[in-house]
Structures are given as structure tokens and as C-alpha cells.
């Protein structure tokens, strides 16, 4: 019994002496693995989309930082398990060491795990402002902007507001400030499925749903936001490059054709955007005029009542 105790003690002190050596070896090794992993995360398979909008880029950076740490932890634990399985097979190591635990080691590793999480939490809160707070639009794009007081708003208060309304199984976009309140009275231009936005402009999205829960998501332009009936949710993006087409689709199960509730965001120059909006506005008023004529005709024929019902 006493011999066993002295043996365990000798073992622990050896581990402590070796501990310094192991740390000296494992420290630089894990830093190297971390950097390699964080670097290789930029390969297409292993990272999030970035570069199209500052919020998406910040999220992707945050992801890469966590990914590096995850690879280090995974390789560490994994090699420990595999080494144990290889080294301590019954035929190689016939007598098992009868130990019940080691409080100091236990506490040390618990603190180590906690420390990793503290680091991730800190990095997240450092990165958070660049993900949730919209930046100013580029100076060249001032023509399409208006001031607004609804969140989120860039420091200058100047932004472009687009309302996104989800319904089974298509997205509708209404362009311009006040789009969630007075879209019909103001005869705001709108489009379905394909959203057109100017490059370099901070676009504020007001997201709503008129039936079931949907989720708005363009991977290249940042995270997703649920469109919940009865609620208005907000997000923003700032598309940096013109002449790009970004693909996304509804991310919350919304019914049988959920798979086909896709969304496209076409990025154009501010000048093209102004022209497109004017054209849409004209088309909308033309359509309205046509519908008015038909309505008048139907009312005259007695098919439509004066209140607009058949």
C-alpha cells in the first residue's frame, strides 16, 4: 500500500517536472496549429462567406478565430485518446494503474476550459459592434439616402430603408422610408424575389411576415433574421461591390414549397439604382392607372359594386 502511494507520488512529481517540458513543447505547437487552422479556414469548405458586406466579414473573422481554437482543442483531446488506445491495450499494458482521480489536474483543466470560453466571449463582444452597428454610407451615394430614426442607424443618420415582407413562398421588397407604414398611400416602388440595391450604401432592412414564420438570409450579406408575423425585426448590410448578384433563401420551414422561397440581391451603382427606382415608380403608377380603368369599367358594367366588391 505504502509502496503504491510512493509510486503514485513519484509519478506525479515526474509529471510535474515533465510538465514544464510538455508546456514548452505544446505551447508553440498549439499556437502553430492555431494559426494554420485559422488560415486554412479561409478555404471554401471551412469558412463563412465574407467580403461582400462588413457585417458578414466580421462574423466570418469571428468564426475563423473560434475555428482555430476548436482545431487545437480537438487535436489535443483526440491525440490523447488515440495515444491511450494505442499505448494502453491490455496486451501491452497488462496491469492498469489504480488511481481514482487528481483534484489539482481536474481543477486546472476546468479552469483551462473556462479560460478558452472567456477568450471567445471577449472576442465576440469586441467584434459585436462591427456586426450590429451599421457604418456610414459612402459619400458618393448620398442621392439615394434619407434620414430615419428607427434602429439600426449609421452614425450620420443617413441610410436607405427597404421593407422585406415574407409570405408563402415569396419575398416582397418595398423601397423607401416609411415603407412599413405608408407603402400604399405613398405608392412606393416594390419588387418581388429580386432586390436591387446600390453599392456602398448602408441598407436598413425592416423584416415582417404576413402569414407564417420565415427567415431572411443572404449568406454573403450577413446573418439571418426571422420574419415573425406580428413583429418587426431589423438588420442591415452594406454591399461593397457593384454588379454582383447574391443568392439566399428562406431559412425557416414555412410550408410545402419552403425550398423554393429564394431571394436574390442585385447590387448596382447608385446612379443605376436611382434610374431603376424611377422606372419602377413609373411602372407602378402605369399599372395603377390601368387597374383604375378596369375598375371603372367593371363598376359601369355593374360587375363591381361602388365599395369595390364583386
Amino acid at each position: 500500500m505504502r509502496r503504491a502511494v510512493t509510486f503514485v507520488r513519484a509519478l506525479l512529481s515526474a509529471a510535474r517536472r515533465n510538465g514544464v517540458r510538455i508546456l514548452a513543447l505544446a505551447g508553440p505547437l498549439s499556437v502553430g496549429v492555431y494559426l494554420a487552422a485559422a488560415q486554412s479556414a479561409s478555404a471554401a469548405c471551412c469558412t463563412l462567406k465574407s467580403g461582400a458586406s462588413p457585417n458578414a466579414t466580421s462574423i466570418a473573422t469571428l468564426y475563423d478565430i473560434i475555428f482555430g481554437m476548436a482545431v487545437v482543442v480537438f487535436l489535443g483531446v483526440m491525440s490523447f485518446v488515440l495515444y491511450s488506445v494505442w499505448k494502453f491495450r491490455a496486451h501491452k499494458n497488462p496491469v492498469a494503474l489504480q488511481i481514482h482521480g487528481n483534484t489539482r489536474l481536474e481543477l486546472g483543466l476546468t479552469l483551462g476550459a473556462a479560460l478558452i470560453l472567456v477568450v471567445i466571449a471577449t472576442v465576440t463582444f469586441i467584434k459585436l459592434p462591427s456586426i450590429v452597428n451599421p457604418p456610414n454610407s459612402d459619400a458618393s451615394a448620398s442621392a439615394v439616402l434619407s434620414a430615419s430614426l428607427t434602429a439600426p442607424t449609421p452614425p450620420s443618420g443617413q441610410k436607405l430603408t427597404i421593407c422585406v415582407t415574407g409570405r408563402q413562398f415569396i419575398w416582397r421588397y418595398t423601397y423607401g422610408a416609411g415603407c412599413n407604414k405608408a407603402a400604399w398611400q405613398d405608392r412606393l416602388p416594390y419588387s418581388y424575389q429580386e432586390m436591387v440595391v446600390p453599392a456602398g450604401v448602408t441598407v436598413d432592412l425592416l423584416i415582417q411576415s404576413s402569414d407564417v414564420i420565415h427567415a431572411w438570409w443572404i449568406p454573403a450579406l450577413g446573418g439571418k433574421v426571422d420574419a415573425v408575423p406580428g413583429f418587426t425585426t431589423y438588420t442591415w448590410f452594406k454591399a461593397l461591390h457593384a454588379n454582383e448578384l447574391y443568392h439566399g433563401q428562406c431559412a425557416q420551414l414555412c410550408g410545402t414549397e419552403h425550398a423554393f422561397m429564394t431571394a436574390l440581391v442585385k447590387v448596382v451603382t447608385p446612379r443605376q439604382y436611382t434610374a431603376w427606382i424611377a422606372q419602377q415608380r413609373q411602372l407602378v403608377s402605369q399599372q395603377n392607372a390601368q387597374v383604375g380603368q378596369i375598375r371603372q369599367y367593371l363598376a359601369k358594367q355593374g360587375i363591381l359594386s361602388s365599395s369595390g366588391n364583386f
Binding site: F88, A90, N102, T110, V132, Q168, G223, P229, L253
Partner: protein, 567 residues
């Protein structure tokens, strides 16, 4: 044989006698009327494995549909029905009740009791589970539910899901919920009151600790979902508007209620798996569990924290930023006790004398896949990253690593470990090991690539996709992997069926176990034990074995493990 002596240690003399009573009823009636915890346990295990195979077939159909872009094998409507059936089956009819099956069989045996505290209540909880399964699968003959196992309103309201399938889903939640609550109370009372003399809380086997906490979590979580689905039912049929946004109801209320149940449910499914791993590893490492107290304590801490993390399922829902921050930090916290467990399991392997049986291989496989599932959980807990990854295939990969790789690998380890006790016969070890490798390879092929799918923007729950999105190759790999996985599982199922008649006779203690279930015959008689030994440590059976060795001074052969243990 090597020079080791541990394979030759003596078997304790086991003092149990089968009580023979002439059976007057028919055999099947005997099973229907039984209140014996072992028979109920077997019925639980057989029934839940049937549901596991049904859920697996549903998964294979979905993977077949997704194997190539623009596939027309399954329509959107049928796909949504399949994903609802698959999720509901695996959670409510497989993983949760299969743990109750193991618990039923082994809780009384491991604590040295002769039955559960309330045997008739025990039978009730089994039959309620069967009724739940029948009510749910009867929808196949009219209209299965198609709003998902989470059934978010308004999609699950009468307007968008008019069929009775959704009501059958609600009925299933109620029936299996009552079944689980009744069972949980039974487990709690049994463990609190019927332990062998000397089995203090500090000597409770870790599997029993996990079942105890499983029971407590069920009692906390299930009433909430029972209330929520009742509210959904009254919304659907009796004119209330709890979740109806057109009448000032809130769909977000449902999301909160559902996940207040749903996240503890995750730990309800995995904690007993942790318990199984904590029993299997020390037996086959021939070494005491490393950090018994730390593992038991971390189970309690995980259970406590699991009630404080539900909103990490709602990071994209309308919620203030400060709430998101709170739930990110609470979700991080739960990683610490989980890390403690992984550390203690790996440390149990260290300097052990590992006997690589099929059960041990599944347990080590569990360590590896669960590690991956745990690490990807950290990505998802970081809410800005979750804004990108939520509702994508990354999440699908994450929770299949935790539930398929975690819980199911633990269930397999447990089945191979306890099969000889339940049937008296050993499984075919070679087939078991082949099955492990096929399952392990198939599992990783299916789910590892799904991380990449999620990162490249493929949402969950879509029944088809267009070519040219960069998803086709990953999906094909995943679908091929799912067939390999299915073959691996079927090999094990075949092994279990075949060994029932053709397996080698196991003897009372084939593995040289540590706990009291090995201190009786295999399978145990109705009364389990004639004499219940006094418990002096966490490993009473090992104590008995060493005592017999010391008294007789004789080395005897064990029940037959040396023929496959390759020591």
C-alpha cells in the same frame, strides 16, 4: 493468453434461485400483464429499437431525395411529413424511452433492489408509450403532420396545417409525456428509497446518477411542453389565440415555451448516455473511473444549466441583444461541466489496460464524435456566428454528432455491454466490431460534410436544391454515407437478433463488471437477488470478487470473456 492473471480471477458464488411457479396464462398474455421491471425493460428496448429503425428509414428517404439536385423522388409535402416523423420519432419514441428501457432493467439491479418502487405504474408508462406511437403512426393512413417536431405556429395552426395529423402529434406529446413523467417519478422514488445497504449517494453507480438527473429533468421540462401543446390544441379547436398574431397572440411565446422544454430534453437524451459511458469505460479499462465525484457533480451542474439556455435556439427571433448575450454566456458555461466529463473519461483510459470489446469500441467512438459535437456547439452558442449558421446544415451536423454520435453510440455501447446480462448470451464480438467500424465511417461520411454544407449556405428542411450552388458533391457524399451508416446499424441489429438464440453462454459476469447487476445470474431471476450484499464502495462487485479471491486463494475462470477479450 498473456501472463496476466486478471482473466483468471474467480467468479463469486452467486446465491440466487429462480422461483418456479407454474405459468397458467399464455406466454404473450404473460408479457402483456407483467409488472416485472426486467420484462418491461425488454419491451421498452425492443419497441424503441423498432421506432429507431422506422425513423432511420425516414432519414434514408430524405437523404435519397437530397442525393442529387432537383430530385423528384419525394414531393415537398411528403418531405415535410418525413422530417416531422423522423424528428418526432427519434426524440419522443426512441432516444428518451430507450434510456427509460435501460433504466427500467438496470436501475433495480444496479442498486440491489428487487423491482421498481411502483411496478404497476411502470407497466402503465410502457403501455402509454406504445399508445403514443400508435396514435402518431396511424397518421400514415390519413395525413401525417408536416410542421416539424418543433411545430412553430402559425404554420402548425388550423389555417396552415388543417389536417388531423397535427392533432395526432399533440396527442403523442401528451401520451409519451405522461408516460415519461410517470416513469421519472418511479425512477426517482426507486433510487431514493430502495438502494442496497451501504449504498450512500457517494457510492451510487454513475449510470444511476445519470438516470436520477434524467428523471428530475423530465419532471421539470415535460409539464411545460404539455401546457404548450394544450395551448396549441385550444388555439386550433377551441377559439383561443395564444399564438395567433392576428389576435395579439405571439408565435415567439410558443418558441420560448417549446425550447424551455426542448433544451432540457437534449440533456434528457444525452445524460443517461453519459452514464452508460461512465460504466463501460472503467470496466474495459480495468481501472476505477477517474474523478467519480467530478462526473457526478458535472451531471448535476449540466442539468441545472440546461434550464437556463433555451433561448440559444432563438438567436434569430425578435429578442433584445442583452438577452442574446445572456444566453450565449449561459450556453458557454454548460461547456465547462461537459468538458470535465470528457476529460475524466479520457483520463480513465490513461494507463488503463484496455480490453477492446465491441462495447468499448462504441464507447471510444462516442468520445470522438461527441467531442466534435461539443466543439461545434461553441460555434452555435456564439450568437453572431449563429446568425449565419442557425437553421443550416451546420446545425443538423452539430446535433446529429451529439444525438446520433453521442446518444446512439452510447446506446450501442450499452446494448453490447448489457446484452449478456439481459439474454444470458454474448453477442458476436467480431460482427460487433465490424458493425462499429461501418457505423463509425458511415456516420462521419454522412454528417461531417454537412458542416461544409451549412457553411456554404444550405438551409435545413429544404426538399430540393438547384445545381451550381456548390452543394451537390457534399450532398451526394452525405447520402452515400447514410447508406453505409444504415448497413452498420443493421449489422448490429442482426447481431442482437441472432445472438439471442446462437450466442455463446455468457455466465453471470462475463466482463468482470464493477456493479451489482453482475452479482446475479444472466438473465436474472424474477426476484433478482436472494441476498443483497452490503455495499462498501462505488465498485461493489469488484470488492466481492477480490474478497472471494482472498478467501479461497484460488484463481477461477470467469464466465467466458477471455475467449474474445484478446488479453
Amino acid at each position: 493468453m498473456s501472463t496476466t492473471d486478471h482473466a483468471l480471477r474467480p467468479v463469486p458464488q452467486i446465491l440466487v434461485h429462480e422461483v418456479h411457479r407454474p405459468r397458467k396464462t399464455k406466454l404473450w398474455l404473460d408479457w402483456v400483464l407483467t409488472t416485472d421491471h426486467k420484462k418491461i425493460g425488454i419491451m421498452y428496448l425492443v419497441l424503441t429499437f423498432v421506432f429507431f429503425l422506422l425513423g432511420g428509414v425516414e432519414a434514408l428517404l430524405m437523404r435519397s431525395q437530397l442525393a442529387v439536385p432537383n430530385n423528384t423522388l419525394i414531393s415537398g409535402e411528403h418531405y415535410n411529413q418525413l422530417l416531422t416523423l423522423h424528428g418526432t420519432t427519434m426524440i419522443f419514441l426512441f432516444v428518451v424511452p430507450v434510456m427509460a428501457g435501460f433504466g427500467n432493467y438496470f436501475v433495480p439491479l444496479m442498486i440491489g433492489a428487487r423491482d421498481m418502487a411502483f411496478p404497476r405504474l411502470n407497466a402503465l408508462s410502457f403501455w402509454l408509450l406504445l399508445m403514443g406511437g400508435i396514435v402518431f403512426y396511424a397518421t400514415l393512413f390519413y395525413q401525417p403532420p408536416q410542421a416539424g417536431w418543433w411545430s412553430y405556429p402559425p404554420l402548425s395552426s388550423t389555417q396552415y396545417s388543417p389536417s388531423g395529423g397535427q392533432d395526432a402529434w399533440i396527442f403523442l406529446i401528451h401520451l409519451t409525456g405522461i408516460s415519461s413523467i410517470v416513469g421519472a417519478i418511479n425512477f426517482y422514488v426507486t433510487i431514493a428509497n430502495m438502494r442496497a445497504p451501504g449504498m450512500t449517494w457517494g457510492r451510487l453507480p454513475l449510470f444511476i446518477w445519470s438516470i436520477l438527473i434524467y428523471a428530475v429533468l423530465l419532471i421539470i421540462a415535460l409539464p411545460v411542453v404539455a401546457a404548450a401543446v394544450t395551448m396549441l390544441l385550444t388555439d386550433r379547436h377551441f377559439g383561443t389565440h395564444w399564438f395567433d398574431p392576428t389576435h395579439h397572440g405571439s408565435p415567439v411565446l410558443w418558441e420560448n415555451l417549446f425550447w424551455f422544454f426542448g433544451h432540457p430534453e437534449v440533456y434528457i437524451m444525452i445524460l443517461p448516455g453519459f452514464g452508460i459511458i461512465s460504466e463501460v469505460l472503467p470496466v474495459f479499462a480495468r481501472k476505477p473511473i477517474f474523478g467519480y465525484k467530478a462526473i457526478a457533480a458535472s451531471t448535476i451542474v449540466i442539468a441545472f444549466l440546461s434550464t437556463l439556455v433555451w433561448a440559444h435556439h432563438l438567436f434569430t427571433a425578435p429578442m433584445p441583444l442583452v438577452v442574446l448575450g445572456f444566453f450565449m454566456l449561459s450556453s458557454f458555461l454548460i461547456g465547462i461541466p461537459t468538458g470535465v466529463k470528457i476529460f475524466n473519461w479520457t483520463a480513465t483510459l490513461w494507463r488503463g489496460s484496455l480490453v477492446m470489446t465491441a462495447s468499448m469500441m462504441y464507447a471510444i467512438g462516442f468520445l470522438i464524435v461527441f467531442l466534435i459535437g461539443g466543439i461545434t456547439g461553441i460555434f452555435l452558442a456564439t450568437f453572431p456566428v449563429d446568425w449565419q449558421l442557425n437553421d443550416t446544415y451546420f446545425v443538423v451536423a452539430h446535433f446529429h454528432y451529439v444525438l446520433m454520435g453521442g446518444a446512439v453510440f452510447a446506446i450501442m455501447a450499452g446494448t453490447y455491454y448489457w446484452y449478456p446480462k439481459m439474454t444470458g448470451r454474448l453477442c458476436n464480438e467480431r460482427l460487433g466490431k465490424v458493425s462499429f467500424w461501418v457505423t463509425f465511417i458511415g456516420f462521419n461520411a454522412t454528417f461531417f460534410v454537412q458542416h461544409a454544407l451549412g457553411l456554404s449556405g444550405m438551409p435545413r428542411r429544404i426538399y430540393t436544391y438547384q445545381p451550381g450552388m456548390g452543394w451537390s458533391t457534399y450532398n451526394l457524399i452525405s447520402s452515400i454515407g447514410s447508406y453505409i451508416l444504415a448497413i452498420g446499424i443493421l449489422m448490429s441489429v442482426y447481431n442482437f437478433l441472432r445472438s439471442y438464440k446462437h450466442g455463446k453462454i455468457a455466465g453471470p459476469d462475463p466482463w468482470k463488471g464493477n456493479t451489482l447487476e453482475w452479482y446475479t445470474t444472466s438473465p436474472p431471476p424474477v426476484n433478482n437477488f436472494d441476498v443483497i450484499p452490503r455495499v462498501r464502495s462505488v465498485e461493489p462487485m469488484r470488492d466481492i470478487r477480490l474478497e472471494v479471491e482472498a478467501q479461497t486463494g484460488r484463481l477461477q475462470k470467469t464466465g467466458g470473456s477471455e475467449q474474445f477479450a484478446r488479453v
